[in-house]
């Protein structure tokens, strides 16, 4: 059974030999090959090399195109803050849509137009050539709340939810259409699964999540399924209050961050596969291999057989090798 076969069989509810292993790595993978993160995030060959080496070294069942949330916004024309050795980021006062009127003139970038989105599509193509059929290949897009915050400014969009709901609706319309096109390009390039990262969605509470965010996430999920790909949803932070909605999206994998109680997650995701949610810093980075294993066993026990091994969020860059190996060993030794 190849890694790809294992993950897909597990998602379909068919028997597998062991739990799949799919922790998120970005800076960790760049460090493993000695690459500065700016290069990792801007040169698909470096990203692919980092992911392949990491997957090989630790036995991960997948490779991912994820790097940072700024690709789509950059191609829209946003001013991105670049760092030599950490992820690109945004400054609120320089947000592309600091003036709301600019939204009307904004055009959806072509995912194959040669920008940062294209670089991710190229990564998907190279993954397919290198490990297609062996490892599961994951593409990545931003969710409506995360991308809306990237374009408008995270502090400002929180006020927009009250001050100008029509603008938020229009912005999320734009974002949803853009992300579906981006997902399509990655699926056509060969990814098996699209991850949707909607970090800021954990900040807004269940009412705004249900009113503005959920309908757009749902459209993304349905569109990706219609393309024939699977969906992994990851929302950073404490999503306890919006678990019901997350459960109703119909994602194949719901990737929960560490503040969420895994039993609560399972109670709201009847049959979906849940991934996570060992604390990335407190346990994975700072604790011992024995405690990593114990934390994973607790997650597995809480979630039950429909579980994938991973941390609550990205494995941070200075996570000890022994702890990542302990995570891998748990997956290798454990049947669903």
């Amino acid at each position: 059974m190849t890694s790809r076969e294992r993950v897909l069989a597990h998602l379909d509810g068919r028997p597998v030999d062991r739990l799949p292993l799919m922790p998120i790595t970005m800076q960790f993978a760049a460090d493993l090959i000695g690459a500065k993160y700016l290069r990792y995030a801007t040169d698909f060959r470096t990203l692919v090399e980092g992911q392949l080496r990491t997957a090989e070294q630790y036995g991960f069942d997948y490779v991912s195109c994820i790097s940072d949330p700024a690709r789509e916004a950059a191609d829209c024309g946003a001013d991105i803050v670049l760092f030599d050795d950490q992820p690109p980021a945004f400054k609120e006062e320089r947000a592309l849509l600091a003036e709301k009127t600019r939204l009307a003139g904004l055009r959806i970038p072509d995912p194959l137009g040669g920008g940062r989105m294209t670089d991710r599509v190229r990564a998907a193509e190279l993954f397919r050539r290198e490990v297609g059929g062996d490892k599961l290949i994951e593409g990545w897009i931003e969710g409506p709340m995360a991308e809306g915050a990237d374009l408008r400014g995270i502090n400002t969009i929180m006020l927009d939810l009250y001050d100008d709901p029509a603008f938020v609706t229009d912005l999320f319309e734009f974002v949803t259409e853009m992300e579906i096109r981006f997902a399509q390009a990655q699926v056509e390039a060969g990814v098996d699964l699209i991850g949707i990262g909607d970090a800021a969605a954990s900040l807004v509470g269940p009412a705004f999540y249900g009113q503005f965010v959920w309908p757009c996430e749902k459209r993304m999920v349905d569109a990706i399924h219609a393309m024939g790909a699977r969906v992994r949803l990851h929302i950073c932070g404490d999503t306890t209050a919006i678990l019901d909605g997350m459960g109703r999206l119909g994602c194949d994998i719901v990737d929960l961050d560490y503040p969420v109680d895994m039993r609560a997650g399972r109670a709201r995701m009847a049959s979906q596969v849940i991934l996570g949610n060992v604390e990335p810093v407190g346990v994975m980075r700072n604790d011992t291999p024995d405690h990593v294993r114990a934390a994973l066993a607790a997650c597995h026990e809480a979630v039950g057989p429909r579980y994938i091994v991973g941390a609550g969020c990205e494995l941070v860059r200075d996570t000890p090798e022994a702890n990542v190996r302990a995570m891998g060993a748990f997956a290798m030794d454990t049947a669903p």
Partner: protein, 220 residues
């Protein structure tokens, strides 16, 4: 007697214009600025903070409530600073996100909640170096420095700031840290005076730091 219950309700609901109007009306009735601050704005934000802590309110609600509080504060501020007003802040707080880190929504929430608890808050913004923290300390004479970081790559700079303060003789200034990758353990490691896991906890921590002396690294 001003309708402080209404003022608190308007603040809670984020009705900035109403809070501003009620603040003016209270002053016009001859109520002291300090009383309007304490009974109206601070009391209102206290409810917001409690409800945020217990997941009754979320970030958007806190931000609009804080905006309403600021509308009232803008009316009160000139009076609070006047000689004889008799109003002292709960403490002076200097806040910043450390060098290399531009993530600021958590830090902004802490600033708003601290201002709502009666602190004089000076927000340095994001990407702040030790030199910028020190220059602001000389200028504002804070009781507490609050630092935030969102990334494991930027949080080591918190130690640079703490070491810098100790080396330059600012050991009396309390230093608190927070942000996603930080923890009580990390605060102890780098010699911080305290750690808080969220904005509400940060305000409780600041109050303890200025009120009861050292609190170690107890989580709020």
């Amino acid at each position: 007697m001003p309708d402080y219950a209404l003022m608190k309700r308007c603040l809670y609901d984020g009705k900035a214009a109403d809070v501003e109007r009620l603040t003016r009306e209270a002053l016009a009735e001859g109520r002291p600025a300090g009383e309007v601050l304490a009974e109206g704005l601070i009391a209102g934000m206290r409810v917001v903070g409690e409800d945020f802590k217990h997941n009754v309110l979320y970030v958007p609600e806190v931000l609009i409530a804080a905006r309403a509080m600021k509308a009232g504060m803008a009316v009160l501020k000139p009076l609070l600073g006047a000689q004889g007003a008799g109003v002292k802040p709960a403490g002076v707080l200097l806040m910043g996100t450390v060098k290399g880190d531009v993530h600021d929504i958590g830090k902004n929430l802490v600033c708003m909640m601290a201002e709502g608890a009666g602190f004089e808050v000076h927000d340095l913004g994001v990407d702040q170096s030790i030199e910028q923290f020190l220059a602001a300390t000389e200028r504002y004479r804070p009781d507490v420095i609050g630092m935030s970081a969102m990334l494991t790559t930027t949080m080591p700079y918190m130690k640079v700031v703490i070491d810098g303060y100790r080396e330059r003789g600012f050991g009396h200034v309390k230093i608190a840290i927070g942000g996603a990758p930080t923890s009580r353990t990390y605060a102890a490691e780098i010699g911080a005076d305290g750690y808080a896991p969220d904005a509400s906890g940060a305000v409780d921590l600041f109050l303890r730091l200025v009120g009861d002396g050292p609190v170690g690294t107890a989580a709020a």
